[in-house]
Amino acid sequence: MRRQNPLVYFIISLSLASALLIVSLSGLLSGVQGIAAAPLFALTGLFTRGGSAVMAAGNELYDVESLRQRNRDLERQLAALTGEVVQLREIAADYERLAQLLNYTTANRDMQFIAADVLGVDQQGLIRAILINKGTRDGVRAGMPVVTELGLVGRIFDVTANAARVQLITDQNSFVSGRLQTSRAEGSVEGRGLLTGNLVMRYIPVDAPIIIGDLVFTSGLGGNFPPNIVIGQVTSRQSFEFELSQEAQLTSLIDFNRLELVLVVTNFEAADLRLE
């Protein structure tokens, strides 16, 4: 039997891998990559649906156990909360009026959407990205915003013929221009995906009031996202002595671990400021 030469196999494998890396970086393989990944996307989609079903069943079992305890707690809280109901009704009425003032529905009619199923998430835990089942064939392009009824999900990062990768706003490399609802102060909303999956809004002017519970919307500055899409809600604020700005911690209203269906805004083109 002929003796195997390990060095030859090593050099061939290393050369192939390096060549693949170089060609992939040049962007020449994106079409082939999309075709090759299609069956994997389909299988991942199946597993995601299966996983979600198992998670839901598990949560229900857990819920039964915890509901008994919760019921007792809630009965105690009910008495205390009754007084607040009247106040909350007033707030709800205010909210209705504000919603009409914002005319949110009319604003959204300007947008065109494509609904897409979430197939899975990026292989690398370092990256907060999801895979969706719509691609260039459906009119999806890189840079398009992705939303749900609860607010901004992210933007299309990479797209193949029948699938796309969406960089979530919780990703550490996601930067969205945001505006506080009450003070109208602006800042940059950055993902903190590695830590908690929450968001932080930086560079808020030092004299701007930050109200806990305030909503943060996209400002549209920079041209990467359309304005007035909900990004999240302020959960805490931080100001530093001698700093020219302050920052706020935000939580998105979206549970990114349970995303199943998203909407791609197809009639918005992100501004490309690169020089030709």
Partner: protein
Amino acid sequence: MVRSALLLLLLIVLVALQSSVFPYIRFFSGQPNLILLVVVAWALDADWREAFTWAFVGGLLQDLMSIAPLGTSILPLVLAIFALKLLDQQFEGLSILLYFVVVVAASLLAQVVLFVGLGLVGYPIDLIPTIRYFLLPTMAYQIALALPVYLLVRWLHQLTRPRRSYGLSP
């Protein structure tokens, strides 16, 4: 043939699981890289050609499901297999110990290559939080799962090993 088909199927299922189910069990941002564990464990009992082939296939499958460019996961796997096989020749009989050493080294190398690969596609990495919340939890997962995966792969190896026939064929 059956052996190759079985391993390919296992790798495909693992890649799909890593994108669908594993995110639910993330510890901070770290999650296990079972492809690396399986490929390295399989290489211990495989010849050079088979070991490199599966390193290539495993890495390619991983890269197809990620933003990272193709080749990012193949390179560390190929280097790891080379180191493993060389060490295995030098220190025969220490394969389980070598496996652990190579798993730790290869997992670290895979992360470093990933950071560089992502940097090349315009995805800069903030190093300190990345080490704290991604690299260390991933390493913890890799070390915790190394032995169970090793035992599973050994069992698969024995199950699918081609048997030599001593009887006369009819």
